[in-house]
Amino acid sequence: MNIINVHQLHKQFKVSKHRRGMWGAVRNLVSQDYQLVEAVDHIDFQIGPGELVGYLGPNGAGKSTTIKMLAGLLVPTGGILEVNGRVPWRERQAHVAEIGAVFGQRTTLWWDLPVIESLALLKHIYKIPEARFQHNLAEFTDMLALAPFLNTPVRSLSLGQRMRADICAALLHEPKILFLDEPTIGLDVVAKERIRQFIKQVNQARGVTVILTTHDLQDVEKLCERVMIIDRGRLLFDGQLKSLRDRFGGRREMIVDFTESYPDVAVEGAQLIAHDGVRATYQFERDELTASTLIGRISSRYRIRDLTVRETEIEETIRRIYEKGLLES
């Protein structure tokens, strides 16, 4: 049984077109042309309970529009949309009681209130029984290391602290689904890591379904088994992170350290993309050349001291998917 069921979902927006230049500005004043834009263009997907899905795409691709429809904030133009067996926008109050959401830079907490009081207020809002509340609060305080700033007003928290507090706030009522929109944006490496570990734990230990939108592909690599990629409203990919690599991550890199500095280290079948002193970097297609063949070719001419083979960065993979998407349209 799927917890989220989306079929041929689409959402149109009316966008005004602007003419350029001074004369154009004057003409805009009198008449304006509108254009219908498919922010989400007939997409299909299902998500099962307990999944942790990365939802990726460039700015304006339709990520937020999808999430807002799932959260019940936007009414779709058409298609089927069911979350927890409900149509989100039709039964808003019942729907939002069972989801948690953290929307990027915006806090759900009360700006001038100490964190603990904000959380206590949420206890009343979600009618969380006292014992459950205390139990969850203790657990999350521990996991997210909230204790040092529980009594600090939200306005004085650092970005990382605020994000942790917000994530705690989104989970206190034990939602079945958690929507996270850019949870690590603007955070330092340590803070990012702490949040990633927490998300993973909550997903595994409590079975919360998590949908994560992010620009940080490390989030995806460390957290998600499944990724969905959207661009210009179209779902370009939906599947395992591993198969994403296999299908699109064609190019690999080999970094070779030679025992001495050779003037020319080019070999056939691989592209030399960097050569500096004793170190050279080659790029090659995985389906055209195996790593061992390449090593053989190089070592037949030069003396190798050390080497590493690198898979393509996920950034690169996703960039290729976007490019492919452009070709299709």
Partner: protein, 263 residues
């Protein structure tokens, strides 16, 4: 100078894009004009003329005071303050241009758009509803554009001064509001100054505010002429120069303060 006009042009283009807001403002000012006319005409009752202002004069006053609200930013202007609070001010100060001129160029663009789209258009609309007064002599017609431009300069310099408060206090918006309300009262925006008792008029004349609006109104409805007209324009000019000078001095102090405190 080229930079100044570039900024003005840019600002004109920007303000031309506020289509719905301009229309909304136009409608609002128009309806408030009708309401104010109704009250002022009722107040006049049987009287034909009070202190030189006729019934058509008071109607013209009510319309004109609505028509210049946007042009003179009567309801407040907090852009400079906000740029100080958001920190954008640092980039603005780095521009190869006097900080006062930098804002004036942009405000000029705003003023031009609002003078045409809200000021002139409103007066045309009002003239369909009422018999409006207009200047009587060629000299008054010549003086009118000057008074209107000087009125804007005065209004801008005053708003600039108020906004500088942001360099000293986090509560500049609150203080600024006092400044704007003062200008409503003493500029003749709430009531034409001539209808106030003498002591109020004397008090108003100690401030620059009458020259933002009241001078333009009196010129427009033709009660200002001859020596009084020349004197009014001269006073307008002197106040403009004075406020600009004050603005420059305070600006230097503000920038010094920003540099020392590091924002």
């Amino acid at each position: 100078m080229r930079l100044f006009f570039e900024l003005t042009k840019q600002s004109i283009r920007r303000h031309l894009t506020y289509r719905a807001a301009t229309l909304a403002g136009l409608v609002t000012n128009f309806v408030f004009g009708l309401m104010r006319v109704a009250v002022l005409v009722a107040l006049y009752g049987e009287a034909q003329e009070v202190e030189g202002i006729t019934v058509s004069g008071i109607i013209t006053y009510a319309c004109l005071s609505q028509a210049v609200i946007a042009y003179l930013s009567m309801f407040g202007w907090y852009e400079l303050m906000n740029s100080v609070y958001t920190g954008e001010v640092a980039a603005d100060l780095l521009k190869p241009m006097n900080y006062f001129s930098y804002w004036m160029a942009q405000d000029l663009g705003r003023a031009i758009v609002n003078l045409l789209l809200r000021g002139v258009l409103l007066m045309v609309l009002f003239s369909f509803m009422f018999e409006l007064d207009t200047p009587q002599t060629a000299i008054q017609w010549l003086a009118l554009p000057m008074a209107i431009i000087l009125g804007w300069l005065l209004s801008f310099s005053w708003r600039f001064l108020i906004n500088l408060a942001a360099f000293w206090t986090p509560n500049a918006v609150g203080f600024g509001r006092f400044g704007f309300v003062l200008s409503w009262f003493f500029s003749g925006f709430l009531m034409p100054l001539r209808l106030f008792p003498d002591w109020t008029v004397d008090l108003a004349n100690l401030t620059p505010f009458p020259h933002m609006l009241n001078t333009v109104v009196e010129l427009y409805i033709g009660v200002l002429s001859g020596a009084a007209l020349a004197q009014a324009l001269l006073m307008q000019l002197l106040w403009v120069l004075g406020l600009i000078l004050l603005g420059q001095l305070l600006m230097k102090a503000a920038v010094r303060r920003l540099v020392i405190l590091g924002g």
